[in-house]
Amino acid sequence: MKKFLNKVDNMLVESLSGFGTAHADLVSVNFEPTFVTRKNKAKNKVVLISGGGSGHEPLHAGYVGKGMLDAACPGQVFTSPTPDQMLAVAEATHADKGVLFIVKNYAGDVMNFEMAAEMLPFEHATVLTSDDCAVINSTYTTGRRGVAGTVIVEKCVGSLAETGADLQTCKALGDKINQRTASIGVALTSCTVPANGKPTFDISETELEMGVGIHGEPGRRREAMREADAIVGDMVAAIVADFTAKNLPLKGEILLLVNGLGATPLMELYLIYNTAAKLLGAHGCQIARSLVGNYTTAIDMAGASITVCLLDEEIKQHWDSEVHTPALRWGC
């Protein structure tokens, strides 16, 4: 493992310090406990707090700012943050309209946020994201994982909260978007957790991992490496099948997000986008909004995920509204 770091135990603090300095106009970074808050927060709005293990940058701290999150709690790499972080940041940011936690559906994240929520002395609710359709048989699992679709939830609920909407309305939009979103990822190489110093899994030059998680968790299947069109074809088919299974046929306007997992060149992401857009178009979708880049990563994994969100007027309006965060900015 070769990485830009000093002592591995200091990596998170040093990186977050740099993040705080680079974006001092937008965010403040706090340590002990660790959290990132938005500067110039609008008053009298539902406070949006997300968090999760580090290693998925720019998720979540990169989405703190106007029109998106009010705060993020970064955990150690691939390790959920702890309840003291959430309590402290909720204390530091809340006003009178309550706190909405946006949590990716992993046992650790769920339990840590749950414990924080139980201790929270004011109104709160939680949106659990679970857009990953990689895991086929739901009897195997406590639920699906939250992956890149979380960005869409954070963006749109952030926009709604900015209008002064109340807690339940914000939660409802988050739940709706999660329901209308499906993702699937594929890995060509493993990620390496810095503290481990070795790749999480072995994978040969002739294999890929279909349905990989954003922590390098194994996916649907180890498969033979093949042409991009064939890989993307299978990914799109999985997404389409997921919408069908949800009784929500995939047609009409969609948002197509092609997300790099950390080490995939933009050139390849656009190539994936090209194929995905054609296939989804042929399936009867109009690609009304697009996002291509590294938005939810798995440290240094070469791989990509495809996320489709079935739009409606409400989601589209909130996707389009002003946002100004370190990693997502438009309209201002």
Binding site: M111, N112, E114, V135, G213, P218
Partner: protein
């Protein structure tokens, strides 16, 4: 159970976690996300360093403080679970006492119950509970039979070994390996391994003392 014992156990556990780095780490890499060892190392180091702060505290306070510290240093799935374990153990120790082996077994059982409640998992889901639930049963049964501490310690080590081994051929239905289906078969669970290591360590202290 006395404070001095808990404190020396916490030192020994830290050493044992570090000694088992390779195995714990590789298990969570194989079917999890690879952070379990680092988290356990960080947290057990933190607990071991609380020595002076805990030295003259009553057992229930010590257990509760350990739980609170775990809650804020471990993170991940195991953080809230181990934290709940110690906090519940402390609560029961306070309410029911902790002098006898039976009281200690009851506190342990309360800890395991707290894990079950927090994680909504049970036996056979390929988690730490596959070590902890049988261990709790063994502990309570033998303590109720007034068996000597060393016999209980030997029995607990054996139960922990069997519980760990039982995770090998399970499909996971909780935690990160839950998406894996058949692919989880053949691998031991990382959290179960940590628990087996910790139970061995504590039991070895009993056997030595």
């Amino acid at each position: 159970m006395r404070t001095a014992f808990i404190l020396s156990a916490s030192q020994a556990i830290h050493a044992a976690i570090v000694a088992n780095e390779a195995e714990i780490e590789s298990l969570d890499r194989a079917i999890g996300d690879g952070d379990h060892y680092v988290n356990m190392r960080r947290a057990s180091e933190m607990i071991a360093s609380m020595q002076s702060e805990l030295d003259d505290q009553p057992v229930d306070v010590v257990l509760n403080k350990i739980g609170m510290k775990l809650l804020s240093t471990l993170g991940g799935a195991s953080g809230p679970l181990f934290a709940s374990f110690f906090m519940a153990m402390g609560k029961t120790a306070k309410e029911n006492g902790h002098e006898s082996l039976l009281q200690t077994a009851a506190a342990f059982a309360a800890g395991v119950q707290a894990i079950i409640q927090r994680g909504k998992a049970g036996l056979g889901e390929k988690t730490m509970l596959d070590v902890l639930i049988p261990a709790s049963t063994t502990f309570t049964t033998l303590a109720a039979q007034d068996k000597p501490a060393k016999e209980i310690a030997e029995a607990l080590k054996k139960t922990a070994d069997e519980g760990l081994e039982s995770t090998r051929n399970l499909i996971a239905t909780k935690g990160r390996a839950a998406g894996l289906g058949e692919r989880a078969i053949g691998h031991l669970d990382a959290g179960a391994k940590s628990c087996q290591v910790m139970i061995h360590t504590v039991c070895d202290l009993v056997l030595k003392g």
